[in-house]
C-alpha cells in the first residue's frame, strides 16, 4: 500500500518554543488517521508543515513521495485550516471554481455539483459566503479541500462548527472517502468522532507522539463486571477471567443476568497519555 504522508524526525521551533520535538508517522493510502492532543501539542504545526505553510526546523515530510511544500506535493493534497475564511462576496460555486483553477482540476461544473452534494450544500450553490452560517462555511471548506479529489486530505478541526447532523454528514463523507482510496489526516478534539471513524490514531503531547495505533489496540481491559442474583461482582482481567468467573458462579448456584468485559475508551487512553 502506498504511503500518502510520511513524516520523519520532524522538529519545529518558534523562537524558544519547541512546537514539534521529533515526530515520525505515516498515513497509508485510503487510511483515516486521527491526530489527537491537547492545545499546544503541535497538531496544527504538523499539519501546516505537511501543507507547506510552515517550514520545519529539522526533519522532513513527504506527500505521496514529494517533499512537503513542493508543487507536486501541493497537487496531491487538499487542506482545510482550523481558522479559514472565504471571501464574503463569492458564492459557493465561485469559491469552488477558483480552487478548481488553482488546483488544475478539470472536473468542471460536474465536480462542483458533486462536491456540494457530498457536503450537503447542493441547495447553496449560488449563496454568497457572507450569507452562510458558520456550519455551512465549514462544509464549503471541506468541499474546497476535496477539489480534484486529491490522494491526501488534511483536515484541521473539520467539525468544530457543525451541529450533530452536520457531524454525521462529515462522518459519512469520511467513510465514503476511505472507499475512494483517499487518505485523511484528521486533527480533532472530538475523541468520539475520531474513535468512530479513524483506522489509527496518534496522540501528541509537547510536540512528541506519546501513543499511536488503532483505537481498539490502544484500549486496555478495565476488568469484568458480573450482575448476579446476589449483587454485582467486579474482577480484574479480561475475557478469560470473565468466562472462568461465570462458570464458578453458576457452579455455585448463582443466577447470572449480565456480564460486561470493560475496556478503556479512547478518551481514557487519551487522558492517560497526555497526563491529565
Amino acid at each position: 500500500m502506498a504511503v500518502a504522508l510520511r513524516v520523519r524526525g520532524l522538529e519545529k521551533r518558534y523562537g524558544r518554543t519547541q512546537a514539534l520535538a521529533g515526530v515520525d508517522l505515516e498515513v497509508q493510502e485510503g487510511e483515516l488517521f486521527g491526530l489527537l492532543g491537547p492545545n499546544g501539542a503541535g497538531k496544527s504545526t504538523l499539519v501546516k508543515i505537511a501543507c507547506g505553510l510552515v517550514r520545519p526546523t529539522r526533519g522532513d515530510a513527504e506527500i505521496c513521495g514529494a517533499r512537503a511544500g513542493s508543487p507536486p506535493a501541493r497537487r496531491a493534497l487538499g487542506y482545510l485550516a482550523e481558522l479559514f475564511r472565504f471571501p464574503g462576496w463569492a458564492s459557493a460555486d465561485e469559491v469552488l471554481r477558483l480552487h478548481q483553477r488553482l488546483a488544475g482540476s478539470a472536473g468542471g461544473a460536474t465536480e462542483r455539483d458533486e462536491l456540494l452534494e457530498l457536503v450537503g450544500l447542493a441547495h447553496a450553490r449560488d449563496v454568497r459566503v457572507e450569507a452562510m452560517s458558520k456550519g455551512m462555511q465549514q462544509r464549503l471548506g471541506i468541499a474546497q479541500a476535496l477539489v480534484g479529489f486529491p490522494p491526501l486530505l488534511l483536515l484541521d478541526e473539520p467539525t468544530s462548527a457543525l451541529d450533530p447532523a452536520g457531524r454525521r454528514t462529515v462522518r459519512g463523507l469520511l467513510e465514503d472517502l476511505r472507499g475512494r482510496g483517499i487518505a485523511v489526516l484528521l486533527n480533532s478534539h472530538l475523541l468520539s468522532e475520531i474513535e468512530l471513524v479513524c483506522d489509527r490514531v496518534a496522540i501528541l503531547r509537547d510536540g512528541a507522539v506519546v501513543a499511536a495505533g488503532a483505537p481498539d489496540a490502544l484500549a486496555r481491559p478495565r476488568g469484568v463486571e458480573i450482575e448476579t442474583d446476589d449483587g454485582v461482582v467486579r474482577l480484574d482481567g479480561g475475557r478469560e477471567e470473565a468466562a472462568r468467573a461465570v462458570a464458578e458462579l453458576v457452579a455455585a448456584g448463582r443466577r447470572v443476568y449480565r456480564v460486561e468485559v470493560r475496556r478503556s475508551t479512547l478518551e481514557e487512553v487519551y487522558l492517560e497519555a497526555v497526563g491529565e
Binding site: 518558534y14 501546516k48 501543507c51 507547506g52 505553510l53 510552515v54 517550514r55 508543487p71 507536486p72 501541493r74 497537487r75 493534497l77 487542506y79 485550516a81 481558522l83 479559514f84 475564511r85 472565504f86 471571501p87 462576496w89 477558483l98 480552487h99 483553477r101 488553482l102 488546483a103 488544475g104 471548506g141 474546497q144
Partner: protein, 282 residues
C-alpha cells in the same frame, strides 16, 4: 495561467469591496466639485484683465488641473492602500490566504498576481479620473495641458509605487499597522514636496536637497512633481514665473533617471516582499 486566475480574483475582490464603492462616490463628488469650480473660475476669468505677458488661461488652467492631479493622486493612493494593505499578514490572520497558498501556486506568483490585480484597478482608476479632469478643464476653460499622456502615466505609476510599498508592508505588518505606516510614508512624501516649495521660496539649497532626496527615496512624489511639470512643459516668460503648481510639491523636472530609479525601486520592493513572503510561516 495561475497569475491570471489570482489577478482576476484580486480584481473581482477589489470591485466588490465596499471601499471601491466609497471611492467611486468620493470620486463622483470630486469631479462634480471640480466641474463646478472650473466652470465659475473660467467664467470669472473672462472679466479679468491679466498683467502684460501673463497667459491667464494657462495660469488658471494649469493651476486648477494641478490641484485636480493632486486629488487624483490622493484618491488613487487611498484606493491602492486599501486594496493591498492586508494582502499577506492581514489575509493570513483572517484565514483567507492559507487556502490559496496550499494550492500548487508559487508564493511569488501569488504576490505578483495580487499586485497585478490591485494595480489594474488603481491604474485604470487614475487614468479615468485624470482624463475626466482634463476633459472638464477643456470643456469649461478651453485649455489643454501641454503634455497629456506622460503626466497621466506618471500619476498612475506614482500610485503603483504606493501599492507596491503597501504590498511590501503587508508581508511584515498587520493590516492596521501597515495602513498607518503607508499613509505616513505618503505623508512624508507630501511634506517633502512642501519643504521643496518652501526651500525654493527661501532660496535654501539645504531644504531643497532634503526635499529632493525624500521625494526620490520613494519616488511617487518625484513622479507627481514631474507630472506637474509636464502639464506646463512648454510655458515660458512671465506665465512660467507666475505658475506655482501644487500643493505639496511644485512642478519639477524628474530627468531621465527618474524612470530608471522608479523601475529599480519597484523591482527592489517586489523582490524583498517575495523573498520575505517565501520565508514566512503562515
Amino acid at each position: 495561467m495561475n497569475v491570471l486566475v489570482i489577478a482576476t480574483y484580486g480584481l473581482r475582490e477589489a470591485l466588490r469591496r465596499r471601499v471601491f464603492a466609497v471611492v467611486l462616490v468620493l470620486t463622483a463628488a470630486f469631479l462634480f466639485l471640480y466641474w463646478l469650480g472650473t466652470h465659475y473660475l473660467f467664467r470669472h476669468l473672462e472679466g479679468v484683465e491679466p498683467p502684460a505677458g501673463i497667459d491667464a488661461r494657462t495660469l488658471v488652467g494649469a493651476t486648477v488641473l494641478g490641484l485636480g492631479m493632486f486629488a487624483t493622486l490622493f484618491l488613487g493612493v487611498v484606493l491602492a492602500i486599501f486594496l493591498t494593505l492586508g494582502v499577506v499578514r492581514g489575509d493570513a490572520e483572517r484565514g483567507l490566504l492559507q487556502p490559496l497558498v496550499v494550492r500548487p501556486v508559487g508564493r511569488t506568483t501569488l504576490l505578483a498576481a495580487r499586485l497585478l490585480g490591485g494595480s489594474a484597478v488603481c491604474v485604470s482608476y487614475v487614468a479615468v479620473v485624470y482624463a475626466a479632469a482634463i476633459a472638464i478643464t477643456d470643456t469649461n476653460g478651453h485649455w489643454l495641458p501641454h503634455r497629456i499622456v506622460l503626466p497621466g502615466v506618471e500619476l498612475a505609476v506614482a500610485v503603483l509605487v504606493i501599492a507596491t510599498i503597501s504590498l511590501l508592508g503587508s508581508v511584515f505588518l498587520t493590516t492596521t499597522a501597515n495602513g498607518i505606516a503607508v499613509f505616513m510614508v505618503f505623508g512624508a512624501g507630501l511634506v517633502a514636496g512642501l519643504l521643496g516649495q518652501i526651500g525654493r521660496a527661501l532660496n535654501s539649497h539645504t531644504l531643497e536637497r532634503i526635499a529632493t532626496i525624500t521625494a526620490w527615496a520613494a519616488p511617487f512624489e518625484a513622479l507627481y512633481e514631474d507630472a506637474l511639470h509636464g502639464i506646463t512643459a512648454d510655458t515660458s516668460g512671465f506665465t512660467r514665473i507666475a505658475l506655482s503648481l501644487g500643493p505639496f510639491g511644485g512642478a519639477r523636472v524628474g530627468g531621465p533617471y527618474l524612470g530608471l530609479w522608479t523601475a529599480a525601486f519597484l523591482f527592489i520592493c517586489g523582490s524583498v516582499a517575495a523573498l520575505a513572503f517565501m520565508r514566512n510561516d503562515l
